[in-house]
């Protein structure tokens, strides 16, 4: 398969410009119908984009914009995923044959990064395309600089801000040296600062026309200064095509009506509040807030939330807007101070005694405080839209007749009737936003708390949202919203509460403040190592043995001895093995506290397993006690002792050798040393990166359930509901990640290169040998003493 540009280091500082120059993109009578759908998403599309052109692609949601970008990137899938007609080409070739010529950047910053360290992630694409290691090593820092990121190469990618992540993803795309950049709503999930960062980086890149640009966005103002031409899609066809000003003049009104943010056509604002704020519903006094498992981000906050007013919590990222909103909503305990509900709020049925919302039951909460989460998918728990709207009222014990009387009018008011029988997860972004607000309104709570409600919404949904919130305010309700959206603040004439930037909360550098909780398995990238240029595991003087060992050696040193030890069950072999291991343990250099923490479970499990054998093991010799199936005998006592020692002898080395696991190094070793298929190993490594996100998702899901009124259910029912939502979120991220990875050459039938070598050193062989020798010594000891007790006889 012909791959452009690989292996030819360009001369001078030609930087990252593709050797083949900017790419041309063309479609001729092109159609695409996804499998399982009757109507085509793209229908007889005709389009030609010249090399170096800069094009903005507009259209309502569902008009086929993303599909078109994926088609040019060659990641739409094979024939079992859909049927195509006509031709679609990159540089006159089939996109599948032009891998690396086109770079694709997607919307979700969290579903594009593959590896735990920034440098590794940038190298991922070129590695997939078999670019020689020296060339990759040259490109990585250039790509990082090209997007204006000043990060060490081993910066932990989970700790970056949204804008930084998105720029890092862009660097990963640039490292392919593409001839065309395809951006699919690259700033929709970023705050205003992030939007500016990404737009500026892109502007810089396409300034010299060395790359063709095709960007999908509904915010015209951000991209209009950057592009030469606008193409408008509607129902899979081109309906307008021309210079920005011309298209806006001819199509502006129509586009605005379809939700595109057209400059000069701002959506209508609701009329200002008709009356003065009334009584206090909620009062915060001297409150300090902190996210779960995090540090205090704000303290000494005083705030009164009164009926008929809108409060906007604003401030930079990391200032604790969301944390404060969740604290006011009773979903987080304040770290200090108190949040107190006013009499009007407490007087609602079911009555509450406690003044603090955090102490209320889920049922009490849902009658008083409606919460709308930033990601609507966090708060959906029912199988259909109609059921979803009924969740809150049902939690309050309303009869079916009453539920219908609430739900049916809401379906009409929020234009959701046609979707009443659909799963909430199948709705579009705008529909999901309307539904999430509707679920909060269903129990008619006096206070609405919203987290970034207008984030990434098209102008039509935005206008509807503003109208709904204004109506709630004018009906005497109070609104607290965490937001970056200046226009929403203005539209609702909100009282703005600006949270100051916290001293240590800017997640700018790899070693800066903790932005996201990091799982144990991924924390290795966060230590203060110097960045290494050679792509090998960071080397520090005298790194402990446990971190220097090749992970495959660690596995072998664990498994081979374990397999030998299990042939016998006796006190001598298990005891000897355990004693030798404990003597060798200090050599690994694992901190004792960490070791103890990791070993705790097996230290609990070992005696429990032994107890089972004590009571139910094969009897023999003297019987000491007997009850039903229980028989404690000489033999069962010995079995129990042997089992206790053996579980420890098998478990302790396995845990100690992986006390500081590093998924990236493990993946490298499995692929390079064990020669496992790289596609599968890398897929698993990429998925492991999502753990941090999944854990945050799980916390948010739990909170949302409390806010929806179903948080009082038993642990098992809650857990079961949580698992489904978590899996949906995981699959969505996974599907998006798959597109991003495939666009970066993952899965191409090319021999991959590896920037990060996984050497097998003498110490690795020695570790395996020592492991085996320990077991041999143990077995010999058992044979010599005549205690050998084969488990298969």
């Amino acid at each position: 398969m012909p791959i452009p540009d690989t292996g030819r280091p360009p001369g001078g500082d030609a930087a990252l410009a593709s050797r083949a120059g900017a790419a041309s993109l063309a479609a001729e009578a092109w159609s695409w119908t996804p499998a399982g759908r009757a109507a085509p998403v793209l229908d007889g599309l005709d389009l030609a984009i010249e090399p170096g052109e800069r094009v903005l692609l507009l259209g309502a949601s569902g008009s086929g914009k993303s599909t078109l970008l994926q088609a040019f990137a060659g990641v739409l899938g094979a024939d079992d995923e859909g049927t195509r007609a006509g031709t679609l080409t990159v540089d006159g070739r089939d996109p599948a044959d032009a891998r690396g010529r086109v770079g694709l950047l997607l919307q979700d910053p969290d579903a594009q990064l593959v590896l735990a360290r920034a440098g590794d992630d940038i190298a991922f694409g070129p590695e997939n395309l078999g670019v020689p290691v020296e060339e990759i090593r040259r490109r990585v820092p250039l790509a990082l600089a090209a997007v204006g990121l000043d990060l060490p190469l081993d910066a932990d990618t989970t700790r970056l801000s949204g804008g930084q992540k998105q720029r890092l993803a862009l660097a990963g795309v640039l490292a392919l040296r593409p001839g065309a950049l395809l951006l699919d709503e690259p700033t929709a999930q970023l705050d205003p600062a992030g939007v500016r960062e990404v737009a500026a980086a892109v502007a810089e890149l396409v300034a010299d026309r060395s790359m063709t640009l095709l960007v999908v966005e509904h915010r015209v103002d951000v991209w209009a200064p950057l592009v030469d031409r606008v193409i408008v899609l509607e129902e899979g066809r081109v309906v307008a095509d021309g210079p920005v000003a011309d298209v806006m003049r001819a199509q502006g009104e129509r586009l605005a009506a379809r939700g595109v943010w057209v400059p000069g056509r701002a959506p209508e604002h609701p009329s200002p509040a008709s009356r003065e704020p009334g009584e206090t519903l909620l009062r915060a006094r001297g409150v300090a807030v902190r996210p779960r498992g995090g540090e205090v981000v704000q303290s000494g906050l005083d705030l009164e939330v009164r009926a008929g007013e809108v409060i906007a919590l604003t401030g930079v990222n990391g200032a604790g807007k969301t944390t404060l909103a969740l604290t006011l909503a009773g979903l987080l305990e304040p770290a200090a101070g108190e949040v107190v509900a006013g009499d009007a709020l407490r007087g609602i049925v079911p009555p509450v005694d406690e003044p603090s919302p955090a102490a209320w039951s889920s049922r009490a909460l849902v009658a008083r405080l409606g919460v709308v989460f930033q990601n609507p998918e966090h708060q959906f728990i029912a199988a259909t839209v109609r059921e979803e709207l009924g969740v809150g009222p049902r939690a309050l014990g309303r009869s079916e007749g009453e539920v219908a009387a609430i739900v049916e009018p809401l379906l009409d008011r929020l234009r959701l009737r046609a979707l009443a029988g659909s799963s909430p997860f199948t709705l579009s972004g705008g529909e999901q936003r309307r539904l999430s607000v509707a679920t909060a309104l269903a129990t008619a709570p006096p206070v609405l708390v919203l987290d970034e409600p207008s984030f990434g919404q098209d102008s039509r949904t935005w206008a509807e949202l503003a109208a709904l919130l204004a109506a709630h305010r004018d009906a005497g309700g109070a609104i607290v919203m965490a937001t970056h959206d200046r226009e929403l603040v203005a539209a609702l004439t909100a009282r703005e509460v600006v949270l100051p930037a916290p001293a240590a909360a800017s997640p700018i550098t790899a070693t800066g403040g903790v932005h996201r909780s990091v799982v144990a398995g991924e924390s290795t990238g966060s230590r203060n190592e110097r960045p290494t240029d050679d792509g090998e595991a960071p080397r520090r003087p005298r790194a402990p043995l446990v971190e220097r060992l090749n992970p495959v050696a660690a596995i072998a040193a664990t498994l081979l001895p374990a397999l030998m030890l299990i042939v016998t069950l006796d006190v001598v072999s298990a005891g000897v093995a355990l004693a030798l291991q404990l003597a060798l343990l200090p050599l690994l250099g694992v901190a004792p506290r960490l070791l103890l923490l990791r070993l705790a479970p097996v230290l609990i499990a070992a005696p429990l397993t032994a107890l089972t054998l004590l009571l139910y093991g094969e009897e023999g010799g003297r019987v000491y006690a007997e009850l039903l199936l229980v028989r404690i005998s000489d033999n069962s006592i010995e079995l129990a002792a042997a089992t206790f020692l053996r579980v420890l002898a098998i478990g302790i080395p396995a845990i100690a050798l992986f006390a500081r696991p590093d998924a990236t190094r493990l993946g490298d070793a499995l692929s390079q040393n064990l020669r496992l298929p790289a596609r599968f190993v890398l897929g698993a490594v990429a998925a492991l990166r999502l753990i941090t996100l999944l854990r945050d998702d799980a916390r948010m899901l739990e909170r949302a359930r409390r806010a929806r009124g179903v948080g009082d259910r038993g642990a098992i029912r809650r857990a079961a509901g949580l698992v489904l939502s978590l899996l949906v979120l995981a699959i969505r991220r996974g599907s998006s990640l798959a597109i991003a990875m495939e666009a970066r050459g993952f899965g191409a039938r090319i021999r991959r290169t590896w920037l990060r070598a996984s050497p097998w050193r003498g110490v690795d062989s020695a570790a395996v040998l020592v492991g085996v020798l320990v077991s041999v010594a143990a077995l010999v000891a058992a044979l010599q003493t005549g205690e050998f007790n084969a488990i298969v006889d």
């Binding site: 097996v602 139910y616 992986f658 698992v723 978590l726």
Partner: protein, 222 residues
Amino acid sequence: MTPFSKGTILMVSTAASSTAPAARAPRPSMRWRVVDIVVASVLGVAGGLVMVVWNLTYQPITAPIEAALPGLQALLYGVWLFPAVLVGLVVRKPGAALYGELVAAATSALLGGFWGWTAIQWGLVQGLGAELVFAILLYRAWGLVPALLAGLGAGVGMAVMDLTFYYPDSRPEFAVLYAVSAMISGAVLAGGGSWLLTRALARTGALSRFAAGREHAARADS
């Protein structure tokens, strides 16, 4: 080790394959797409997270059962087996069940799981148990019955491993009770549970790029 139930399981699954939903034509591709790999990995990792949580909670739940009737505690151990069946049902490619269970086991090990890397051995054998069932059905049947059988297969794997490593030389009554409990749990919790979960996932539209998701959508339309 005595392959006390290997013969039985083969017979059962062969007999049941005739009752399983008929193969659908045209025959879907057996090649793994990128999205298959990534989603299988993500589901495996999520399964690993569930395992970690279960590792920390199962003792208090199963201990009373164990005390009352030893062996029956395995009735709840199917939780460890669901990634195998779930990934198999969603992805429908050769090796998916094995891969899903292995990734889940490796994830639980990486997160400082209970048994360190020995978990991989369990993952391997349990995954193979489920994989074998899907293979015998020629990767064509993905209904409730195949799901139950795959869960049962994974349960056999778990019983073999547990009885060899943890409870060697236990009395036959205990071993039989334990093995039967493990198989029932595998079939019901892992098999039936994963089947229900797959259906629920299909309903959310999250599986639109998978045959498992599209079939459901087609059924809903008709």
